[in-house]
Assembly symmetry: C2
Homo-oligomer: 416 residues x 2
């Protein structure tokens, strides 16, 4: 199958491109490389060294005998995107190409606007490009479980049957996202649902939980095939951050009481889920949502796992509770359905202590690269991050945005 | 009360500014004037001549003895916006400043992106500016009834109590908007709800129906105080378009079967509703939604009203059904609650035949200005509008967007 993976330079995009290539698909790996720029801007860095896309693709061909087509392209560049979709005529696209850090989106107005504009405009462009150049292409989009927030009822997969005043309808599940990043995915979901209904596009929205793990079968084949591993306060997810804190002899820092419960999954399940969605596509006009996670844990439970796994090696770990920089409930009901992918044949890798072991091992290998000053949260949900610097950014970004808004649609584009 | 009206050059923004000024409030009228540019680009024009903002404000002072502070400013320009909010220290802001045409948003990818970027980024900037410079300010935002779509259950005001698997919660009402414009308002609603919860802002979202009517008490005081009247296929709303079609001897064109039912209200009720919201503000941390309309009609019923009102004057009117350019249900259940504003004291102006008379009179006064070639719909929901021209626009807008995405957050803005 001809498949384009957008966001193929990312933590999950790259392993997904490899996984699909290994299984015989003809894969185009597309990325703007903006994530590497954001790392430079934030002073952050992947714990595991990541090779350039050119090196990775060459190494993959040397190791596997399979070619991946690498293409540097920004989804916000509609001209280039249309050309690519028209030339490749993909049967499926996988869309990871979004700014995906909640703290980044909360630094300042400029960062919130950048996140939502980048994500929403990129997805809109993709919808139009597919409509106009490959209308039968199945759009597999990465959403997030964070779109739902923490309602006091069970979370369903995208839609909910509501009975109200004696009538019934199946409606989009209400969304209560908790950051401007998570909200950008809510906006995407609404836009995609509409495009499927209005234009007959076919799309699967994978509402993914928090991913952990350092490698897949393919990325482990050579150090130049490794994917990134983020542990810092901006880009790192919770389990990875805990393991790094422990490895350098710091307390594992739980935000607030730690009762925040979320869905989690192993990186090896992410790539499998994407493949399952592609192998069992949505129908024309169908917008479907799969909740993509395998287990629920509270943050405090995760910390406990790290303590236990390290104890097996005779390592001591301290857990501390720090003031929560986020606005979120720290104790709440949480019960989210995740049946669709199981029905399609997903066999989950459960979070075993051996997995935590693996992470601890990798962290110890690269412990010299840890940038200690990037681990702590520097973004407060109520006040933003690093106020002075952020304000400067706002000023300039605001001016640029105003210029752009004026220039976006040239004379003569409207109705005659 | 110190009040800023954003979007004060628009059909409703201008009458609102006058209405609030007439009632003794200290009003800042703010607009980027982009609507006048869009008119030039689309070849459209208000049927009623509209004076420049400078003239309008001077005329208002001459007529009423009251000053309105006029300020040309784009909400996408965060620096200028922050300065304004900081200087004025408004007690309330009214936010009309959005691209508000569904057909415009469906012309092409560039128009969809422009609409969502303009509306979402402008609203995000306003939320941050209020948080940082006037956190007690009440944000009155104009949403739309179109956010709800046409569910098969009753539409509530913003939230719905859901019982599911034996548990209950009050959640945001599910949204199924029918154009990229309507979707931009859905995105705004989610962003504002989050900002109220995370930052303690106070906001009222007025989910407005389709507005009709040519004048308010204040705009009728002098021809230089008149507000715009749109009747064309891009900017005109349905009743106004019908009256113009009839006035120039054309058939009144109903899209499809005409069973599409919506909420409607008189322009004189719009300004009153905004005043009621301001006089009874949301509390800190509260995001509340008022459905702002007074009556429900189907499109076919509206056409029938026009036929009847004209018949009183011995005028004949032909109704025709044309292929529907939009993707929407043409027969559906529709029952939307609109109690909150009634509880606050709204006494509606019902759509009387005399109102249709008024519109017909105004149309006949200015019939020489009707641009006949702009009346018909030129935008198809499935194919966009004027494909060749739109595609050119897409190309250039895409390039600009890509440049902007790169430039939005300068070096050093992120975490250290």
């Amino acid at each position: 199958m001809r498949i384009i993976v957008f966001g193929a330079d990312g933590y999950l995009g790259w392993p997904t491109a490899l996984y699909l290539s290994a299984r015989g698909h003809d894969v185009w790996a597309v990325d703007s490389l903006v994530r590497r720029k954001w790392d430079r801007l934030c002073g952050t860095q992947s714990l595991v060294p990541v090779a350039s896309m050119e090196r990775r693709v060459a190494r993959w061909e040397a190791v596997s005998g399979k070619a991946i087509h690498w293409c540097k392209l920004d989804l916000c560049d509609l001209v280039a995107l249309e050309q690519l979709v028209d030339e490749v005529q993909p049967e499926a696209v996988v869309h990871f190409a979004e700014q995906r850090s909640a703290p980044y989106s909360m630094i300042s107005a400029a960062h919130a606007v950048e996140t939502q504009v980048n994500n929403v405009a990129g997805t809109l462009n993709l919808l139009f490009a597919v409509r106009d150049h490959a209308p039968d292409c199945h759009i597999v989009k990465l959403g997030t479980m964070g779109e739902y927030g923490t309602p006091d009822i069970d979370i369903e997969e995208g839609f909910i049957e509501i009975e109200h005043n004696g009538r019934r309808d199946r409606l989009p599940y209400p969304k209560q996202a908790g950051s401007f990043y998570h909200l950008s995915k809510v906006h995407d979901s609404h836009n995609i649902l509409f495009a499927c209904r209005a234009w007959g596009l076919a799309s699967t929205d994978l509402n993914q939980g928090v991913v952990y793990g350092v490698a897949t079968e393919e990325t482990a084949m050579h150090r130049e095939l490794a994917t990134r591993f983020d542990y810092d306060g901006i880009w790192g997810t919770v389990l990875n951050r805990f393991c790094v804190q422990a490895a350098i002899g710091r307390p594992v820092s739980v935000y607030g009481r730690g009762g925040q419960t979320r869905g989690f999954l192993d990186i090896r399940d992410t790539v499998r889920c994407v493949e399952l969605a592609i192998a069992n596509p949505a129908e024309a006009g169908e917008y479907r949502v799969f909740n993509q996670f395998t287990e629920q844990f509270s943050v405090a439970e995760l910390a406990e796992r790290v303590v236990r796994a390290r104890a097996h090696h005779g390592l001591e770990t301290v857990v501390e509770h720090i003031p929560n920089p986020r606005s979120e409930k720290e104790e709440h009901y949480y019960n989210a359905r995740h049946q669709h992918l199981m029905d399609l044949g997903l066999v989950p890798h459960k979070l075993a202590d051996t997995l935590v072991d693996d992470v601890v091992t990798v962290v110890n290998q690269h412990v010299g690269r840890v940038r200690v000053n990037t681990i702590d949260s520097v973004v407060d949900w109520r006040k933003g991050g690093m106020v002075a610097a952020a304000r400067q950014a706002d000023s300039r970004a605001g001016q640029l945005l105003a210029l752009r808004a004026r220039a976006a649609v040239p004379v003569g584009a409207g109705a005659r």
